[in-house]
Symmetry: C2
Subunit: 318 residues, 2 copies
Amino acid sequence: MIERLETHVFETVAILGAGLIGSSIARACEASGAAKSVLIYDANEAVRERAKKIALGSICETVEEACTDADLVILCTPVGMIETAAKAASPFLKAGAILSDVGSVKASALNDMLAVAPSYAHVIAGHPIAGTEHSGPDAGFAKLFSGRWCILTPLEDQDEAYQLATAKLTKFWEAFGSTVEIMTAKRHDLVLAITSHLPHLIAYNICATAEDMEQVTEGEVVKFSAGGFRDFTRIAASDPTMWRDVFLNNKEAVLETLGRFTEDLAALQRAIRWSDGDQLFELFTRARSIRKSVIEAGQDTAAPNFGRRNQEDDTPAE
Amino acid sequence: MIERLETHVFETVAILGAGLIGSSIARACEASGAAKSVLIYDANEAVRERAKKIALGSICETVEEACTDADLVILCTPVGMIETAAKAASPFLKAGAILSDVGSVKASALNDMLAVAPSYAHVIAGHPIAGTEHSGPDAGFAKLFSGRWCILTPLEDQDEAYQLATAKLTKFWEAFGSTVEIMTAKRHDLVLAITSHLPHLIAYNICATAEDMEQVTEGEVVKFSAGGFRDFTRIAASDPTMWRDVFLNNKEAVLETLGRFTEDLAALQRAIRWSDGDQLFELFTRARSIRKSVIEAGQDTAAPNFGRRNQEDDTPAE
């Protein structure tokens, strides 16, 4: 649930990029009252037109128009475009303005913004752990961030004004129903490599393997996908540009976790080849226990979910 | 939806094993009228007691009691127990009775049943492509098989009585709302290796890797699991015994698909290391297209699903 704030957190917020996250922020601002005025710009004219058509808010024709009066400029582009977007916004940032982003990789985004932002602006990188497999302005909705984590990676040892700016940005995300967590950009990139980047890489890879298995037709793969494969296709339906940029910009941490995954998989492969049932059972039992922790932490529901097509129908009768 | 049949498909059905699948068959028989009488046995006394307590049906104290009058005996045990269960049931099978199963591997189950079944019984292996991550008699529900595939792998070149038996077993599954597909056991095992067995293996493996990443705490893995990891934990919550048996009994096909997966992953790893954005983008786009096929085939819904915790809340407002 998003409750309406009594006073705005920011007077004017500029959103650069009107995709899933940008359009959701626009809608969440409207629902929560976190900003008095929201100005939206997207480099793609077709997206701007679409955003106007679905009445997303005040759509600007230039970056200047969006950023000149903004207290917060939030870059909602794929990670690979942060540098371009930050460069475009920087000349128009006013003194004391916050420059932030929503990218899935933080060290590179932070560096890209710091390289071009004027010293009188506060650069605070951020990442809401929320999303769906859909993209574009139509995909956004106000409650996307509700009950979700938002990680901020502010610079360390900064002055009081910077700390106040961080507190304000925290309040902004909290207004959307998010819980804010503070960590360093480097730590963020390692934690997300295992909880998000590796899972996506694996999901993409298994889809490619399935498609290439010429002894099995794509028709059969699709037909019997409810056996487990289906869930991977959903993760692999996420935006290809966004994910290309994630892997190019978090190379070190992704290769490190991927190396571990591959080692573990080799051990599992050996256990299968040598019919080591005890090792398989022990590993599967351990994997199951982490599921319990995820449910206890409120990050998923225990309701059975294999039969998503008829969600209600498939729920046990009791 | 399960519609009530006007006439029973079988007079008496014996279910050996009252876990998720066995108890769901019992409930589906009751809902559809596919069997006039259902007799249930489980080798585990505690499961029998629990099945009685939740009024699953007529619980027998011996295999003999369950099987003696049965027109269909359906083994609902993990794949590794098929041999034991088939051996226990065989002495009590009446002439013309069908001996079937529900295991996720078909060649080994078929061989195990054929090795012990009397020649006057019809051995027809089967596999409903349905399930949840939960196990035990309480996990079952009547609609589990509704709208799902059920693969039967009858022997080839059999007499008319066998073909009639296959037609009856087909009708039985159709009564639960399933669509029956006929293929050879060998083909089943290859198709399921890629659509079900490999996805489960990968999901188990990524859970183990996450748990072992000592630079990242389990608390952080759980906390930020909504970034993608969460979905793997659900698949990895499936019954460890069942899955151990799947991998031990479908070794050849699993190792073959796993080999392909690993090769593809090595290529992906190389693309990341060498910053080959085009290759990543091309692969991610290809993976996304298979998702479309899955949705078009009615095997999943297009509704965004990352925010399962508040399913209704997270649905776009439009």
